[in-house]
Structure formats: C-alpha cells, structure tokens
C-alpha cells in the first residue's frame, strides 16, 4: 500500500475511510516536535469538544482552532438536512453550488469546487447514527499529507462531538418531557389525593352521625374557610370556623325564594356576594343551603369539589332527618288513631315509649274545630301545635273527622288556647275538652266527651268559648243516663208543641227559648247571641207563650223549661254522636 492508500480498501464503495499521512522522509527534530505538539493540541481540542454539549460551541471550537494547526481553514459545515453553518468569520450563506456537491459526495467526502479556493475538500462528519454532514476545509494550496490528516481527525472528532451533543440534547429534552410529565402526574396525584381526603373525611361524617355541625366542621377543616348551613328559609342550622355573625343575617322571603330558584337551576357552586353556595335538596320539599364564606375569592378547584361533596352529604343528612321525621309522624298518627279508636293499655304504653312519649300519665282528649279560614286541616293542625307549644303543653296531635284531636296530659286554660289558635288562623274556632282518662284504654270515652262538649257548646252555650265536659254539670248528668226514654218524654212534655212548630215551619223557637233561659231572661244578651233584633226576640217569645200556653216567669215553669231545653240539647248532641 502507498502512503495515500486507505486503511479500508472499500473506500470506493462509500464506506468510512480514515486516510493515513504519507510516511515522510525523516524530518528534522524541531519539525517533528512541532507535529507532535500539534497532535497534543488536537488531543486537547478533542477533549474540549467531547466535554461540550453545545453544538454551536463544538463547531466554533473546531473552526477557530484551525489556524493554530496549519495554514488551512474551515469554511463551514454542511449538514444532511441542508443547513449550512459557516466557519469563524465566513459568510453565513453556503457557497453557491456547494450543497449539491456535498449531497453527491455522500459519506465518502472528497474534493469540492469553491470559488476563489485553489484547494477545497469535504470531510465527512460521522456520528453514532451515521453521516451528519461534511466539514469543508480550504487552503491557498494543497496542504501536505500531515495537515490533511489533522483536518480528517478534526472532522472525525467534530462529528462524534456533535453527535454526542445532539444525543445529549435529545436526552435533556426527553428528561425535561419526563420531568414535565412527572410534574403533571404529581399534580394529578395530589389532586386525586385531596379528592380522596375530601371523600373520606365527608364520608366519615356521613356515617358517624355527626349531623349538620359535623358536615360544616369537616368542610371548614378541608377548605380552611368558614362554613354555614341554612335551612330553606335562611335560618342558620350549623356554622364552623371563625367570624360567625350574631345575629345571623336573614334575607327577605322574596330574595330567599329568588336565590333558591337560582340554585335549583345551577349545577355547580354559585357565587352570592362573599359566599359560594350550593343547594342540597334530596327531594323537592326538603332543602338546605351549604355556603363557603370566601370574601377573598381564593377558593380553588379542590375547595369547589369539597363544597359539592359536602352538599351531597348534606342532602343525605337532610333526607335522613326527613325520613326519621316522617316515620315518627306516621307512627304518632297511627298511635293517635288507635288511642282514639280504642286499644289495649299494654300495647299503647309500649308504642308510646317507643316514641319517647309517656302515656302512663292521665290524659284527656281535646277536639278543636275550625270554620272559615281555620278549616284547612293542616293549617289548623299546625296552629294547634304552636298554641300548645306556647302554652308549654305536650301532646299527640292528629286530624280527626275534619277536626283536630289532641291527646294531652296537660291542663291549661283551654279558652286561652282556643283564642291563640283563632288569633293564629283567623276564622272561627271551637274547642271541646273531654274528661281525664287514667289509662290509654279510657281515651275513647274522653274523645266522646270532648265531641259531646263541642256539640253542646254549639247547641246550648252562648258564644264560641271552649267547652269542658267535666264542667257541664246537668248536661253531664243527662249524657250519663243509659236509657234516655224518660228524658225524651220529659222533653216532649214541655217542648213538644215548639218542636213540632219548628219542624213544620223550619223555625228556631226551641233554640230561641234555650238562649233566653240560658241568658237569664236578658233580652239584649239573648238578641245579641241569636243575632236578631230585640223586637224579633219578643215576637218569638210571644209565639212560644201562645203555643205552649205557659207563663215563662213562673219559677216552676222556668225551671222545667230550662231543664227540658238542656235535656233537648243533650239529646241532640247524643243523637249527632250516634
């Protein structure tokens, strides 16, 4: 092989070639030392290029080192993607026609034509993945073999260094991408972890029976913000965190209704001034509002998740409470019905205990009847409950034959209670009170007495005042007579002609006589009670005298007529009952 022969004889087919310098004639020692010094310098340049991960830095180092290694220079670098990087101080644009020449050379390299350059050669830049491009060197005359070998080595080292730098850049990009992915993943994990914490904390509250205060407390702990829970009317039911307003502000009814309508349409938390609010409504008739007090508007997405989850737990709690209330209400209603209809003591006492109601005390039945606006059963029931609560009386309540029946152990001013109900509802309210029942099984009797009192009150007694059966005196005695035949005969004996007249003419002479006698013969009071003019009353009394032939001022007649009218009223009441 000659000195210019290649180490790889397959150079002709484009395979990588390392050209060795021609063996020189024995050089003078200074020249040899200089050549060896250049190799040392080349070694250092190679080390520096290998150490660098900056492609531009590598290319510049190679180009700028050329003048120190010989009289040649690096014109620039042509890369396989068509890019041209000029050598130090050269024109940024690639010399005309050079890109095409480099493409044709392929990985072998070789001479190229450069305008104004007697000698120009392209040396392949090879990297790990193959050909990266070419280093284009030029000189005013063909450099000696030793110099050409240096250029070849510089090209080889530059190729390796650039390849490494690109690999490193890719690795850095991959690492950065991985880091970004990891960061995103970590954020997702953090978000999920917080969601799980929220879920676990609120689920714990839901199952632990901590109720609405527990829900508010948990949400406050999760968000760090004060939390309020309100009922549908805006009343505060629970608060957690600092700054609880006292008194708690309450919106007007109209504004509250507007807010609730807005919340019903919303699917996510809604801002209402300084608060983020959400509706908890397990059914249309059950509502609660969960509010996060956030004047600084710093609630993040996790806080909103916590609020939404809190609203779900609150809805469950409200549904549970309403379910319990409904069940208790049903049980109470069933018990009241059974007590009024008649049940055994043992069963009644047990069921009362289950409802935390003591039936061992003597109870009585009170019947409340409403007329006009007070006739609505539910409204009347609620009004009676309120009045009893105000009178500090407990009891069992239920609607009964269009009226409200109260079973109570209390003894209060029943007239005052009646007035309270009437004041609450308006309209007309009557009230009948039965006698005390020592045992639950006696309550049907008390009910009958209460009903009787109510009817007697309507028939015989003046006004709408409450009527207590135990205070009815003669009425009570008459009602207690098992066989009413003699009573009926007595009534017919004294009032028969008037009863017949009333039946025939649809008149009210018996009722007029009754009120006249009950008011002690006072014309004014009787006329007022009957809502008629005094002359009308006098005319009716004259007709009574004519029909009966009796003198009403006769004490004996007066007594018998009063007894007869009371017996008539009692019979009427008893017949209505039957």
């Amino acid at each position: 092989m000659t000195a210019e022969q290649t180490r790889n004889t397959a150079a002709g087919d484009g395979a990588p070639v390392v050209r060795l310098p021609r063996r020189p004639d024995r050089p003078a020692e200074p020249d040899l030392r200089e050549r060896l010094g250049e190799f040392r310098a080349l070694l250092v340049i190679s080390l520096l290029m290998t150490e660098s991960v900056n492609e531009e830095q590598i290319l510049e180092l190679a180009a700028s080192s050329a003048p120190g290694l010989g009289s040649w220079r690096i014109e620039g670098y042509g890369f396989t993607d068509g890019q041209w990087r000029p050598g130090t101080g050269h024109n940024p644009a690639a010399p005309r026609g050079l890109t095409g020449q480099l493409a044709r050379l392929g990985s072998a390299g070789g001479p190229v034509d450069l305008p104004g350059c007697p000698w120009a050669q392209a040396y392949p830049l090879r990297g790990v993945g193959g050909l990266l491009g070419h280093l284009v060197a030029s000189c005013d005359e063909e450099p000696p073999a030793e110099q050409r070998f240096l250029i070849q080595v510089i090209a080889q080292q530059t190729g390796v260094a650039v390849s490494n730098a690109r690999l490193h850049a890719r690795e850095r990009a991959t690492a950065a991408e991985l880091a970004a992915t990891n960061a995103a993943l970590a954020e997702t994990v953090t978000t999920l972890q917080r969601s799980m914490d929220i879920h676990q904390r609120l689920t714990r509250v839901a199952v632990s029976g901590e109720g609405q205060p527990g829900i508010a407390r948990a949400l406050h702990e999760l968000t760090g913000m004060p939390v309020a829970i309100e009922d549908r009317y805006g009343n505060l039911t629970a608060w957690a965190g600092p700054g609880q307003p006292d008194p708690y502000p309450k919106e007007s009814f109209a504004k509250r209704e507007h807010v609730l309508r807005r919340l019903m349409r919303a699917t996510s938390p809604t801002r209402d001034g300084e608060r983020l609010i959400l509706l908890a409504s397990p059914r249309t008739d059950v509502m609660g509002v969960l509010a996060l007090i956030d004047p600084g508007r710093r609630a993040d997405s996790a806080d909103l998740v916590a609020l939404e989850h809190g609203a779900t737990v609150l809805a469950m709690e409200l549904a549970r409470l309403r379910g319990i209330a409904d069940a208790e209400l049903r049980l109470r209603r069933d018990l009241v019905h059974d007590l009024l209809a008649g049940t055994d003591d043992e069963s009644a006492l047990t069921r009362g205990e289950a409802l935390d109601y003591d039936l061992r005390r003597p109870h009585r039945v009170v019947i409340v009847e409403g007329k006009g606006r007070a006739r609505a059963h539910d409204a009347l029931l609620s009004a009676v409950r309120r009045a009893m609560r105000q009178a500090r009386q407990d009891g069992l309540f239920e609607t009964w034959s269009g009226n409200v029946a109260v079973i109570t152990a209390g003894q209060t001013d029943w007239e005052q209670l009646r007035r309270a109900v009437m004041s609450d509802l308006g309209g007309q309210v009557r009230l009948g009170v039965g006698g005390a029942a020592a045992r639950p099984s006696d309550l049907p009797r008390s009910l009958r007495e209460a009903g009787l009192a109510l009817r007697l009150q309507k028939t015989l007694l003046p006004g709408d005042s409450a009527c207590e059966y135990p205070k009815l005196g003669i009425f009570r005695m008459l009602a207690a007579i098992p066989d009413l035949t003699d009573v009926d005969s007595f009534v017919r004996e004294w009032l028969g002609s008037l009863l017949d007249y009333d039946a025939r003419r649809k008149a009210e002479l018996v009722h007029t006589l009754t009120q006249y006698l009950e008011h002690g013969g006072n014309y004014d009071a009787t006329a007022a009670e009957l809502s008629v003019h005094k002359s009308t009353l006098k005319y009716r009394l004259q007709r009574i005298r004519e029909l009966t032939g009796l003198e009403l001022n006769d004490p004996d007649v007066h007594f018998n007529l009063q007894l007869a009218t009371r017996a008539w009223g009692t019979l009427q009441a008893l017949r209505d009952e039957r």
């Binding site: 200089e34 010094g37 040392r40 150490e51 080192s65 130090t88």
Partner: protein, 212 residues
C-alpha cells in the same frame, strides 16, 4: 524542593518549576480552581502571588484563610493584583515587563523567607483591546524559561467560553502541561521559547466569536 507539589486541584501533583495552563468554563469553575490552588499554597506556607481580572474576584480571595494584608504588592502571604498594575501596566502588554514582575516577586519572596512560590494569572485580560496582547502566546513560551530557574509552580487560567480554539492550540503547543477537565495532559513535545518564537507568528488572543 524535590518531588511533587500538591496543586490543590483534583488531587493533581505538580513538579516544581511547572508552568501549567488550566482551561475552565465560567466563573464558578474558575473560582474552584483558584480557591483550591491558592488554598493549598497558603496551607503549605508558600508565597502566593495572583493576578485576577476583576475587583470582585480580588475581594473574594482576600477573605481566604491565611490571606493577610490589603491587595497590593508584597503584603502578606497572598498578594493579589489586578491587570492594570501588572499585565497591562502602563496601558500595554510587554513580555519583558511581565517576566520582570514575576521574577521580582519570586526574589522578594525568597528574601522574605519563603522557600516556594505559587503564581497564578487569570488570562482574560488578554481579550481586551490593548497594545501588545498579540504577544500573549510568546509570553507564555518565555515564561517557561523563568519558571525553570525557580522553586515555583505557575497556573495560567484560560476561560474556554471566551478564548478561541487557535489560542487553545497555541497555548497547548507552548505549555509542557495542560490541565483540562481534571486531567493533566503532558506535552513533552512543547515548543521551547526559542523554537516557538522562531516559527510562530503573533496570535491575537481575541474572543472566540471574533477570532478570525
């Protein structure tokens, strides 16, 4: 003194009389080399003379343990100088003046009782547009002649981010030892001052980006 002297850098030992060219990248790397090299010298009781290219660097070196006296010639164990009073004294670089500066420093140290000297120069001053800086490589070659006669080690610091490849090549060719990436590269074929000055042309130590 015979045997190797600890350089204080990457556990590298140096022969007395060594003139080492150290390449680094950036201020952090420079400070690591300076503090290691001077720290070892101060610990060993060597006279340390350094020329740094900024007042900030000088101030940091003053706080080194063992340093004493204010920056200036012949004050304490560690003398710290700036280029304006050394390499570029009088506004231009003169090889002979600088060699005289080092020589006088070493003689003075010997008089003061120091048995060994440790010299260091931060060479970025040569990137300034000042008369005479093109003689940098020749100066480095001449310095070999001086260091061979004294109990001394010399470290010349070159910032690779700022010096061109040509300067690097010529510095390697004229230095018997080059410190790079923690490796001490020996160059037994370095050109002595006479050989270099006979063959070489002046090399402007221009920055990399402008070194044409």
């Amino acid at each position: 003194m015979t045997g190797l002297v600890p350089s204080g850098i990457d556990e590298i030992g140096l022969q007395p009389g060594s003139h080492v060219c150290a390449f680094y990248r950036g201020d952090t790397d420079r400070d690591r080399l300076l503090s290691g090299y001077l720290g070892a010298g101060l610990t060993a009781g060597d006279k340390c003379i350094c020329v740094v290219d900024s007042a900030n660097t000088a101030e940091r070196l003053e706080s080194m343990p063992g340093a004493c006296g204010e920056p200036g010639p012949y004050t304490g164990q560690l003398d710290i100088h700036l280029p304006e009073s050394t390499y570029l004294a009088g506004g231009e670089f003169t090889t002979s003046d600088m060699l005289t500066f080092w020589t006088e420093g070493m003689v003075k140290a010997e008089v003061e009782g120091y048995s060994f000297c440790r010299l260091v120069g931060e060479m970025t001053w040569a990137l300034r547009d000042a008369p005479g800086v093109e003689h940098l490589v020749g100066y480095e070659s001449e310095l070999n002649r001086v260091t061979a006669r004294y109990p001394v080690v010399v470290l010349c610091l070159y910032d690779l981010d700022r010096f061109s490849g040509e300067v690097v090549v010529n510095i390697v060719k004229t230095h018997p030892q080059v410190l790079i990436q923690g490796i001490l590269v020996e160059n037994p074929y370095y050109l002595g001052p006479d050989e270099f000055l006979r063959s070489a042309r002046p090399v402007p130590a221009s920055p990399r980006s402008a070194s044409a």
